[in-house]
């Protein structure tokens, strides 16, 4: 069965400022990645957002939510735990709107993220990298609890996070594919992308659409985790929205990040490679239909890590690096 001719839908537009240009990202078919002629794989290019990641949508929703509540102003500092992208997005919007921002993030993120945050005027507090995002969350919660001048949007627990996708990303995808979506695959970090899109797709399409989470396989040994009870489940996550939840090893994530670049010309970050690997797997289990996956961010912030050039074994065994 041949594919119908593609009709490009132009995107773009005219905006009053950079914040208004968030969203309306392109959907691009991954024709070389599809394992079957009847199954079409589509990448929702969130890397096309102003700071190069899906988190622009979330940051905008978090700040607008705080403005509506009257929670931020000249005497407050926005404080947020993040492994990088949310901080960069918040910093861009905070700079544009004139707010102060402090981010807490693991000390093993790539230097590009630190540089971007500083360029946008954010202050950085580092948490132990060995504790991953969980350590940053714990430290930020402690700081916010001890100083009332901090306002923490807290993407992990703020309904504005999934709402950004429920009202933004999901309707765009529904329109782009005329509601014909068999599977949606996204990464599981805060849960915002999966919960917001998943709920909207389930409401519109019922069980005809499968919502699939790709999550990072935790490396080991992870220092600082004293017991299983030290695990962290973001409060906004509702597992009942998901049909599948599949972990991806760092090795597979790196291999598929390179496949995206080699086969499709998509220069994406490592979590997008992980998500693509699951999208292709789900596509292989189907006979026909559209599989949509999220390209969370672009590759620029990961260049220094060598993931695009070094042998896979070398990258896989790098000292702790936060990819997600």
């Amino acid at each position: 069965m041949g594919l119908p001719p593609l009709k490009n839908r132009p995107c773009g537009g005219r905006y009053s400022d950079i914040v208004q240009a968030i969203g309306n990202t392109p959907l691009i078919e991954m024709r070389r990645l599809s394992p079957k002629p009847g199954v079409r794989i589509w990448a929702k290019m969130e890397s096309f957002n102003p700071t190069g990641s899906v988190k622009d949508r979330v940051a905008r929703a978090l700040i607008e939510d705080a403005e509506e509540k009257g929670a931020i102003g000249p005497d407050t500092t926005i404080l947020e735990p993040t492994s990088g992208n949310t901080g960069i997005s918040l910093a861009m919007i905070a700079k544009r709107k004139g707010y102060r921002l402090k981010v807490v993030m693991p000390d093993n993120v790539t230097p590009e993220r630190t540089q971007l945050l500083k360029m946008y005027g954010a202050e950085i507090v580092y948490s132990p990298g060995s504790q991953g995002s969980n350590g940053a969350v714990a430290m930020a919660l402690e700081m916010a609890g001890s100083d009332p001048s901090y306002y923490m949007p807290y993407q992990y627990g703020n309904p504005a996070n999934p709402r950004a996708h429920y009202e933004g990303t999901a309707p765009e995808i529904l329109e782009e594919l005329d509601g014909q979506i068999a599977a949606f695959v996204a990464g599981l970090g805060t849960g915002g992308t999966l919960m917001g899109n998943g709920r909207r797709f389930k409401e519109e399409l019922g069980d005809a659409v499968k919502i699939v989470a790709a999550e990072p396989m935790q490396g080991e040994p992870v220092q600082g985790l004293r017991s299983l009870d030290d695990g962290f489940i973001p409060p906004i996550i509702d597992l009942s929205v998901l049909d599948r939840k599949i972990f991806v090893t760092n090795r597979d994530a790196i291999i598929w990040t390179r496949r995206l670049l080699d086969d499709e010309g998509i220069f994406a970050g490592v979590s997008s490679g992980a998500i693509a690997s699951i999208a292709v797997r789900i596509a292989g289990e189907m006979d026909e239909g559209n599989v949509v996956f999220i390209v969370c961010d672009d590759g620029w912030k990961y260049l220094s890590s060598g993931i695009y050039t070094l042998p896979v074994d070398e990258v896989e065994n790098l000292e702790s690096t936060v990819w997600w």
Binding site: A213, P216, L228
Partner: protein, 96 residues
Amino acid sequence: MATIRIPPVLRPSVGGEREVQADGGTVGEVLEGLATAHPDTRGQLFGADGELNRYVNVYLNDEDVRVLDGLTTGVGEGDVLVILPAMAGGASPGGR
């Protein structure tokens, strides 16, 4: 016989092993086999209600059993169960 991959935090409870074997036709039966053979793991895996503790994620091969059929998810010969603490992002390949 299924293989169970043990996370670092549980290894002291199983004599330092990275992997152990256990019999069972469901996830619950296999984990019960683990808890019977290594009693120190029971309190870390299960709550008083007999359900998996909130922060324990168990994967059948690479799929979270909570999104499948929970403890009643079927386990076949040669399947691998992976036990991990719940986490949000921040993968950490290798140690420091």
